[in-house]
Structures are given as C-alpha cells and as structure tokens.
C-alpha cells in the first residue's frame, strides 16, 4: 500500500472540512484532485517565465520553451512513447478522439467499429465521421457485466474495417477491455485502433509500445493534472499521414504568397496538430502530473485502488438493495464501482444525501454513457451512482462512504 500520510499531504484540499466533516472525495473518475507539485509547477510558469514557448527568443521565452519541451518528454516517458513527437497536447481526451476521428485517412468503403460501452466522446466523433463520409459504422454490444466477448470483436472486425474506437477502461463499469486481443485482431485485418485511455491512464501502467496501440486519448485532469489539458498519442508515421485538425499559427514552416495565392507548408507532428498559442502552464502541469504519478508508481496506484475497491465491493454486494453495474472481478477493473439502489429512485438523490450528510462526494447521472444505460434498461432520469477511488483515498474514506450508504438505505426503506 502507498503511504497515505505522505500522499494525502500532497493534496491541500483534503485538509478541508465541510459541514464539520472531513472531505471524502470519491469522484476522481470525473476529476482528480491536484497535488501541490502540479500546482507549484504551473505557478512557477506564471510567476517566473510567463512567456510564449517556441516563439520569443528572449530569456523568458527560452525558459518557457524549455519547460514546455521538458513536459512533453515527461509525458512521453509516462506512456513509453518511442518519440516525444508522438505526444500531441490537446484540450482533453474528447479533442484527442475528435482529431483521430476527423483526420485519419479512411477509404470510401471503410468500416468503423466501436462499442456500446463507450463514453459519448468515444463514439460520437466516429458516428459523425461515418455520417460525414458515408462510411459504415458497426457497434459491438458489451455484455451485461460490462465485459466483452472477444468472439464478437472477431466477428465484427473484418477486412473492410479500417478503424476501431474502444474504451480501454469504462467510466461506468470500470471494466478493462481486452485491448491487446482487440489490437491483434484489428491489425491482423488491417485496421487501426484508437484507445480511449481517459479512465485507464490515470490508474494503470500504460505502455503504448508494448500494447502496439495506434492512438491513445488521455485526459490530464483525471490524472492529477490541470483542467483543459489532454494528450493524443499516435504512432509518428500515422500522425504524419493525417490531415490537420486546426490550422494557423505555429502549425506551419512557411506560408508563401505566389501568383496571387497563399501556399502553406506545414510542420510535422506535434506542431501540425497544435495550432495557435498553446496552454503552456497546462502542458507544464501535465508534465508535472505525469512525473508525480510515475514517481509513486502506476503499479502501486493500481494495487492501492483495487484494495479499496475490494473493501467497497464486498460490503455493497452484501446489500440486497444494491445493484452493481459491471463485473465484480477486481482484477479486470479500474478502481470504481457504479451501482443503483432499489430504495432510492434517482441516483442524484444518493449523491445528494452522501454529500449533505457525510461530505462524501460521488458522481450520479448517466456519466455521458447513454447507450450502455439504455442497454441496461436504466432511464437517464434515474441514472446510476459512481464512487471512484484514487491514490489519495484511504480505508477511512471507504468506511465513511459505506456508513452513508447504510444510513441512506435505512432512511429510505
């Protein structure tokens, strides 16, 4: 187990008391808390060298450029990317997914494959690409426990399939997809794989070389980094072959004016995907977050979260009033549990009660995953409750959460 005393001290917000109670934050699958180290790195940029990176030749510009480049290197190490140019800064995982969906080269008769378990950001960009270009899109149905039957993927991914979008770890069920097998099937049949790692990267060791994934989308705010920052990983040759998503300043090596025409010459990745003035502080914070998590050890974080999840699951499973979505096999789960309660109709009521009475913060609603909720017969107005654990949570947090759940069941039965 990670030393909680040390890790929790890095997160100033955990010192807060709300309604006289210590804050129990179990909504990290939506937004992770920020350690002092990340805030300090960003503050340093704003206080010491708040200049343009890669443009201004003065001292502050040079320092900003150095910090910006160093952050990309840190992030590349976090993913074990072959080249640092394979890490593109984006606003969030959603933008990363949109870049691939919109810009990857696909033939006219191509098929795209995705699943019912996707976050809306993992399905809609591809649905819209298919609609834009008249492509076929096929959807693999997740099983009721949020896992997949690999035979379904073998059946759906055919020779016409050119792109697969798969959520590596579901933000609803927490189940980890058999990404390695899916990549093998896809590559064997000539398809590229886009992995939505928004929920996976913050909680598990991620090695893009080992998995051989073609693209990966990451949300930095879910991994202790700043908001408004994401990363698109892509194999360098694929990134080079793609069209730009946005164009303008910083994306070009030259723009000529010849014979009455403006003729651009674009830079290679990453610059070709990073148009306009960048979020330097955000990128520096992202690098600091990657370094912070790496320093603790992603394997340790995974183990710690699963230990907490195990305590929660054991208790919740014993209640006849609770229905857990997704498998209870913690070895194939990220540290989160999503459930509904038969004594309380709306998931929002559970979240409100836990917040108001216990200062326990969980997420309620449909978690931007409409298709899976509809598949499970859960109306959006009812929704589900999600408690997600991270490196800064401890067993006291889980106990308080469970205490609140028992009190709620008693009050509403």
């Amino acid at each position: 187990m990670i030393s909680m005393l040390e890790v929790r001290d890095d997160f100033p917000v955990l010192n807060r008391k709300i309604n006289g109670r210590p804050l129990v934050y179990l909504d990290s699958a939506c937004m992770a808390l920020k350690p002092r180290q990340v805030v300090a790195a960003m503050n340093e940029y704003y206080e010491q060298y708040p200049a343009c990176g890669g443009r201004s030749i003065h001292k502050l510009g040079e320092e900003a450029s150095n910090a910006y480049t160093a952050s990309r290197e840190k992030f590349a190490r976090f993913l074990n990317a072959t080249e640092i140019e394979e890490c593109i800064w984006t606003r969030n995982a959603t933008e990363s997914l949109n870049i691939v969906a919109a810009c990857v080269d696909l033939p006219k008769d191509a098929k795209i494959v995705t699943s019912t378990l996707e976050h809306h950001s993992g399905s809609l960009p591809f649905v819209e690409r298919a609609r834009r270009d008249g492509l076929k899109i096929e959807v693999v149905k997740a099983k009721q426990d949020g896992t997949f039957d690999i035979e379904d993927w073998k059946q759906v991914i055919d020779r016409k399939t050119k792109l697969v979008s798969i959520v590596h770890s579901s933000n609803v069920t927490g189940t980890v997809a058999p990404l390695g097998e899916i990549i093998e099937i896809a590559h064997d049949r000539g398809a590229l794989v886009m992995s939505d790692d928004a929920q996976y990267a913050p909680h598990h060791p991620l090695d893009v070389q080992e998995s051989d994934v073609d693209f990966s989308a990451i949300s930095v705010h879910k991994m202790c980094g700043p908001t408004g920052m994401g990363v698109l990983y892509g194999k360098l040759d694929l990134l080079k072959s793609m069209d730009m998503f946005l164009v303008g300043g910083d994306t070009v090596s030259d723009v000529r004016y010849e014979n009455g025409k403006i003729i651009p010459e674009y830079l290679p990745p990453p610059e070709k995907f990073e148009a306009g003035l960048q979020n330097y502080a955000g990128a520096i914070g992202a690098g600091a977050a990657a370094e912070y998590l790496t320093g603790i050890g992603m394997g340790e974080i995974e183990k710690h979260e699963r230990a907490l999840l195990n305590i929660a699951l054991k208790d919740l499973k014993n209640s006849k009033h609770i229905r857990i979505l997704g498998t209870d096999d913690i070895d194939m789960k990220t540290g989160l549990v999503t459930f509904s309660l038969d004594t309380v109709e709306a998931a929002h009521d559970v979240a409100a009660f836990l917040n108001d009475e216990y200062s326990v913060m969980v997420r309620s609603g449909w978690h931007c995953a409409g298709p899976f909720h509809y598949q499970m017969g859960i109306k959006p107005s009812v929704g589900t409750v999600r408690a997600s654990f991270y490196l800064y949570n401890n067993t006291d947090d889980v106990k308080t959460f469970l205490e609140g759940m028992h009190a709620l069941i008693e009050a509403t039965s």
């Binding site: 004594t343 309380v344 109709e345 709306a346 929002h348 009521d349 559970v350 409100a352 009660f353 309620s364 609603g365 449909w366 978690h367 409409g370 109306k379 959006p380 107005s381 009812v382 929704g383 009050a411 509403t412 039965s413």
Partner: protein, 132 residues
C-alpha cells in the same frame, strides 16, 4: 487606502461595490465558490434586493420552479427530470438527459428557501416552500 472594485452581477445589472484593502491583491477573491450563484434569501431581504421575477433566476432554476409551481403534489427527483424533458417545458428546460444541472439548480433553490425537499421512501420529494 481602500480600493473599490465593481463586481457586475449576472446580466450586468446593478454592480456591487466590494471593498478591498490595499494592497488589493492580498484580499483578492475573484469568486467565492462556497456561495450559490444566487444570493441567499436572507441576504436579499437584508439588502432590500428584490427577487420577484422569474427572470432573476438562472434558466435551470426557472425550469425547476415552474415544474414545482404547476405540480399539485410533491415530486420526486426523477419525476422532475422526466417532466423537464417533456415538450411542454422544452423552451425553458434545457439540459442533458441525465439532468445534472437541474438537480444542482434545485438544490440551490432549497438553499435560498424557495423550495423544500424531504427524504423518505424512494428518495427526495420536492415542493414549493410554504408562502411562496
């Protein structure tokens, strides 16, 4: 030395003067996150501020208030969200199907004393506060 900072209210109406001691950045608080978007009823009464019209409220709050005003009995959270998605409320109630922001607005309306909620079998039930 006292600096005055003009903090416009939502919609740009009636700026509130906020006293700030020099050096002003020492006490600079761009936003007090612990306060709801709309001031508490007690504050509004104490300052003589009127909040009589629906247009003074956020769109989501207007949505929840209208639904509860038209209801004859207390409504569950799910019932409010279902009604909000009906055609009748389509113009005023606009949120994703999960209804997260409606619930946030409803909770803030409880904070300012316009509506009440009570926990019971099945969850919370919401209704207009007495006298409203």
């Amino acid at each position: 030395m006292i600096h005055l900072y003009l903090c416009p209210t939502k919609g740009g109406k009636s700026p509130i003067e906020v006293e700030r001691a020099a050096p002003y950045w020492n006490s600079f608080k761009p936003y007090d996150a612990s306060k709801p978007t709309h001031q508490s009823k007690a504050f509004l009464l104490a300052t003589g501020t009127q909040l009589n019209t629906m247009s003074d409220l956020s769109r989501n709050a207007q949505c929840v208030l209208k639904i509860l005003q038209n209801a004859t009995d207390p409504l569950t959270t799910a019932e409010i969200l279902e009604i909000a998605r009906s055609d009748e409320y389509g113009d005023i109630c606009q949120d994703c199907a999960g209804g997260d922001t409606f619930v946030i607005a409803a909770r803030q309306l409880v904070d300012v004393g316009f509506i009440t909620r009570k926990l019971g079998k099945g969850g919370y039930r919401w209704q207009m506060a007495r006298g409203e």
